[in-house]
Symmetry: C3
Subunit: 140 residues, 3 copies
C-alpha cells in the first residue's frame, strides 16, 4: 500500500508512458505523504473501448483509484489528487476532464506488506527499522 490502479481504455496511453507515469505517481505520493517509496505500487489496467458510459452515454474516461491508508489530512489528499491529475495530463496529453480520480482510504490495521500489518501514516520510519529483515527484498 498504497496501490494506484489506473484503468485506461486501450490505446489511450503508449507503452512508453507507463514508466514516467509510475515514477511521477510514486514521487508525488512520497513527497506529499512522506511514506516510504518502496511500498508505492502503480498498476496500469487496459480495458476495451466501448464498455464504459458516463452520464449514460459511451465515454472513455481514465479512472485512477488510489487504495491508500486512512489518516491523512484533507490538504494532503487534495494535493495527491491535484498533482497526480496534472502529471497524468502532462505525460499523456489527456485533458483533466478525461480523468476521474478517487482515494479509497483503508484503516492501516487492515493493510499488510511482506506479512506485516502496516503502521499509521507518519509512523513508517520506526516500523521499517524494526522490520528491516522481513522487509528485505522490498527495501533492496
Amino acid at each position: 500500500m498504497p496501490v494506484y490502479r489506473c484503468s485506461v481504455p486501450i490505446g489511450v496511453i503508449a507503452d512508453e508512458h507507463r514508466q514516467p507515469l509510475a515514477t511521477a505517481i510514486t514521487d508525488i505520493h512520497v513527497e506529499v505523504t512522506g511514506a516510504p517509496r518502496h511500498f508505492v505500487s502503480v498498476v496500469f489496467e487496459e480495458r476495451p473501448t466501448g464498455v464504459t458510459f458516463t452520464g449514460g452515454r459511451p465515454a472513455e474516461p481514465t479512472i485512477i483509484s488510489g487504495f491508500v491508508r486512512a489518516g491523512r489530512e484533507r490538504e494532503a489528499r487534495g494535493a495527491l489528487l491535484s498533482r497526480i491529475s496534472a502529471a497524468w495530463c502532462e505525460i499523456t496529453g489527456q485533458r483533466p476532464d478525461q480523468l476521474v480520480l478517487g482515494l479509497i482510504e483503508l484503516d492501516p490495521t487492515s493493510t499488510m506488506e511482506a506479512g506485516l500489518i502496516m503502521p499509521a501514516p507518519g509512523e513508517e520510519a520506526a516500523w521499517v527499522e524494526e522490520h528491516r529483515e522481513a522487509l528485505g527484498a522490498l527495501l533492496a
Copy 2:
C-alpha cells in the same frame, strides 16, 4: 464519481445489454441521490469463467461495486442497491441471487473530476455553477 464497476463472467450479458444497463444505473443514481448525471460512470468488465468461487465452490456471480461519495443516508443507499439489483435482473434475466452488490464510500474530498475536488452530496449544483468552465466538456 460515482463509478459503478460491473464485473460479469463472459457471456452473461449481451453487448446490447450494456447501454440499457448503463442508462438504468445512471437514472437510478440520479433519481435517488440528486447528483448530476454527467458524473455517473458505469464500466462493464468481463472476466473469464472458471476464476471465481463462492462458498469455496466454482460460481459465476455478477459483482457490482459502486465507488460513491460518502455522506448519504442508509435509506438512499438501500434504494440504490435495491433498484440497481432489480433493473439488472430485469434487463439481463439474471436472478437476484446471482448478484453481489456493494457501495464503497469515499470521502468527497478524496474524489476529483475534471481536475476539481468534488463537493459533498447535495452541494453539487452550486459547485457545477462555480466551475462551469473547467467542467465544460463533461457538461456538454
Copy 3:
C-alpha cells in the same frame, strides 16, 4: 460479500492453485469472522506482466483486496490478513514480500446479496433464517 479480488501476474499461479486458494481463503474468513460460508467470493484476476511498478520500478506483486463488511475488531482483521498471507505463500510458493493485502471495509447497509441488504457482522444467523427463501440458491 465478502469478495476477495486476487490480482496476480500471468503465470504466477497455476490453474490448479485456484481451488485450494479459494478454499483456504474461504475457510479462513469463516473461521475468523463466523460469517456464513456461502457469501464468501474469491476472484482470481490475471493481469499482464510489465504493467505494474513498485517503488517506481517494474515489479510483479500479487495484490489481494478484500471487500468486507465493516465492524470487525482489529484483532480479527489482523488474523484475516496474516492467515491469508501465510496460506497464499504455502500454496503458491510466493514469498510474503511478494504480496500486498488490504481490506476495504464497507458499511453492511451498503452491501447486498440475493436482493437483500446484509446484516452487521455477527447478526448473520438470524438474517439467514429470516430470508431462507430468498437466499435459496445461495444456501444450496
